[in-house]
Symmetry: C2
Subunit: 477 residues, 2 copies
């Protein structure tokens, strides 16, 4: 929980008073360590990634945020923006102390524009609320991060969240067409608008998306909506082993000629942990591994044809059973199990490392096989689940309960380096959707060149010459 100091000034009483003048006394947390603790961590289970802020502020307008950034530049105090704190790489953690800027009060849906099929929201809107708001208009926001019941859309945009429906619908960035942004130096800029195509200058929107709060603070976000699918069916395909299940994934994508909405992979340990956590049962949770496959579309007939084709392909490639969930209640029960795996593992042990590796889809079987070998070699369980259809696996090494914490802390980096090296050999990357933050900053260099990192640094400094906004994330600037 220590704060790393690095050429920044401390938050003085004078700065605290100035912040109170900007956002109102009620919305500044200063001096109350218990309340500030909430802002010291995200959803990473291990305490070593947490750091205390010196002060937290909860603005509601773009002008307030611009004023905060100007003050921070003037006084040389770092600012860390924060959404729901549901991140998994430490993006919202104030590693150099300073100011945490929470957007939790900026939670308004600004406009639903049915004619343009767009919605404009503030960054603190909970992702799931967007679909609640638009479904009566026959529209649909296609982002589906696993934390959708708690995470904020601002965080989704900052991390370029992926989630369960990315195979067919792509990740968050595909839907962002416009933004209002406060830059690190406190300027307010408008990017894009309600346009589905726009090549006016560099693609600053997609540079902001996934920048993990280091290039700007989003104060308004315009998202493209699509027609709500008229039909959606889930298949739960059971396999004897993880290898069998995962081998089916590239085949569904290529032989089948159909791009399903989702292909989620869950091994036995993951399913059982989540079922126990939720006190839930799903068919044959003792199966070796499962694929949860969603097909949606504009007509019942089309969806039926597609899920039949996929179901038969799974049976042909080794599935022992295929269950069809064609009503909302059953689908939601299964998806809830999937969504709660990470949470369930956290309850089992905080000494674990939730990883986010991504490999080309054809390399998934090799990756899962390699994870099996690593698990044996290190005598440590590595449950595995994730978005298999896009190659993104949440392998999660968990401390062997027989070990001391010291042993785990020694073995973990070795194991992770070996896992990352295998990922890199297979043409993969260190993070598919959770981001780099400060958790994976050092290990990123296993995947990219020094020249690549130098370019990231020069972009960061072009936006933020004093390195005030969320310093120490992704790279050291």
């Amino acid at each position: 929980m220590d704060t790393l100091k690095r050429n920044y000034n401390p938050v003085t009483l004078e700065i605290a008073k100035e912040l109170e003048r900007i956002v109102g006394e009620k919305f500044v947390i200063y001096g109350d360590q218990e309340k500030l603790e909430t802002f010291s961590h995200d959803e990473i289970s291990e305490a070593e990634y947490a750091h205390m802020p010196e002060i937290a502020v909860r603005p509601t307008t773009v002008e307030e945020i611009a004023a905060i950034m100007k003050l921070a530049n003037r006084t040389n105090v770092p600012v860390t923006p924060r959404g729901a704190g549901s991140g998994l790489s430490g993006g919202a953690v104030p590693i150099y102390g300073g100011i945490v800027l929470s957007v939790d009060r900026m939670n308004k849906i600004i406009e639903i524009d049915r004619d343009n099929m767009m919605i404009t929201v503030e960054p603190g809107v909970v992702t799931n609320e967007i679909n609640d708001f638009v479904k009566d208009s026959g529209l649909f926001y296609a982002g589906y991060p696993m934390s959708l019941e708690t995470c904020y859309i601002g965080g989704n945009v900052a991390e370029n969240a992926g989630g369960g429906k990315a195979i067919k619908y792509g990740v968050t960035g595909r839907y962002v067409t416009g933004m209002e942004v406060v830059t690190p130096v406190g300027e307010i800029i408008q990017l894009g608008g309600k346009l589905v195509k726009d090549v006016t200058g560099y693609n600053l929107i997609q540079l902001m998306v996934g920048s993990e709060g280091t290039l700007g603070i989003f104060t308004k976000i315009t998202l493209k909506l699509i027609p709500l699918p008229k039909s959606s069916v889930d298949l739960l395909c059971l396999f004897e082993t993880a290898e069998d299940a995962i081998a089916a994934v590239p085949k569904i994508m290529t032989t089948g000629g159909i791009i399903p909405t989702a292909i989620e992979f869950m091994d036995k340990t993951s399913v059982q942990a989540a079922c126990e956590y939720l006190n839930e049962t799903i068919p044959y949770q003792e199966a070796g591994a499962m694929l949860l496959i969603t097909v949606d579309g504009a007509s019942v007939a089309q969806v039926e044809q597609e899920y039949n084709a996929i179901g038969e392909l799974c049976l042909d490639t080794g599935a022992t059973e295929v269950y069809v969930a064609d009503n909302f209640t059953t689908s939601e029960r299964i998806w809830k199990v999937r969504r709660n795996i990470a949470e369930a593992f956290k309850v089992i042990s905080p000494h674990q490392s939730l990883e986010d590796i991504v490999v080309p889809i054809a390399a998934i079987p090799k990756m899962v096989c390699g994870l099996g070998k690593l698990s044996k070699k290190y005598d440590c369980s590595i449950p595995c689940y994730g978005h298999a259809g896009d190659g993104n696996l949440h392998a999660t090494p968990v401390m062997n309960p027989k070990w001391s914490l010291e042993k785990w802390r020694k073995i973990r980096p070795e194991l992770l380096t070996e896992m990352y090296n295998l990922t890199a050999e297979l043409g993969g990357a260190i993070s598919g959707e959770h981001g780099i933050g400060h958790k994976r900053k050092k290990e990123m260099s296993l995947f990219v060149s020094q020249c690549y990192i130098d370019i990231l640094r020069s972009i960061k400094l072009a936006f933020d010459p004093k390195n005030i906004l969320n310093p120490g994330k992704i790279i050291d600037a």
Copy 2:
């Protein structure tokens, strides 16, 4: 055809010799003004946008390109990269002279990876060849710029080309997952790979896409492929007036609940010009305006259901006739007319300005109505066609044949400013897919703030401190 000089050094005989050593004497054009003239322009019809290079080089390897960029930085000579020269904003035009770097010899398909549904190509591959190569694998590259028979994929990526199928499939950037790039200072970097999700650092790939050759030269491009649609049908919907046709577009997108593959708009003047140019006939080319609507999908039944729904919706909203083209020959005849409109207008008069404005889809009717008023006010025809389904209209003011060239040169900027102001008022942008280049550089400030332009400049200088690569495009750095 003058060359603007601006603190760059001339290409000396010594530099020319050094370039010959790098790429081979045969592949350097120097001193031969007739041959160099080819490299002085793109497809903009007006001569004033052309500028002569001092030398042109035709490398074939990434190492050659890196060596050229290092030489250029050392000697302070600008380098302008060039694809097929089919651009429409002057991106490939060497406005400060110096070196034109043509990628025409880098035309190899490097790998088709069926298991990952990816293709890796060199930048000089003609876009249409990609689909010729992959169709037997049941795969499909979804980019469809109107110049696909001549343009290069490298240029498509540099401009983030849109085209005819962007409503359903998105623009070029959606399909780029990996790149090898030579930076402006001559470093070679690898971006991404065969991953469909990747959040390792800022999204440099999408920053490169659409950077108009100012941030790097792409030497390898990896593209995502998708399953080849099993069925595709075109509808040709005839309307009495342009206003009637365009009013149907937002309704198709919202009321119908179906996202078609394409909705192309062509007014009477455009259709007749292209038919005459091609010596072709299509049904009722004397109709006031047409919508060319494509529906494709995984089954004949699904496509049939969707085109029936759209056809009926068009008839309900004012179409006088709807023709169904359900075979390749008929479809291709109609699409060829659409693809050749720009070429046809160029033959009619070089004194025209092919524009690329884009507005929110719900604002298209207002935009078309405004163009009609401008046409009357300035007594100058403004034929209009384009990708109506995504709001991108190629309005093309053409010089009134009764005018002197001087009069046209006086009226054109006034007319364009008025057109741009209306576009901005409607929430639009100056370019949907053709880019800024040097053609629209000055007018871009009608759409974006000075702070926005300053950010573009700081990014450019972060990549290219000496402003060597394609200077004077998008912004003045």
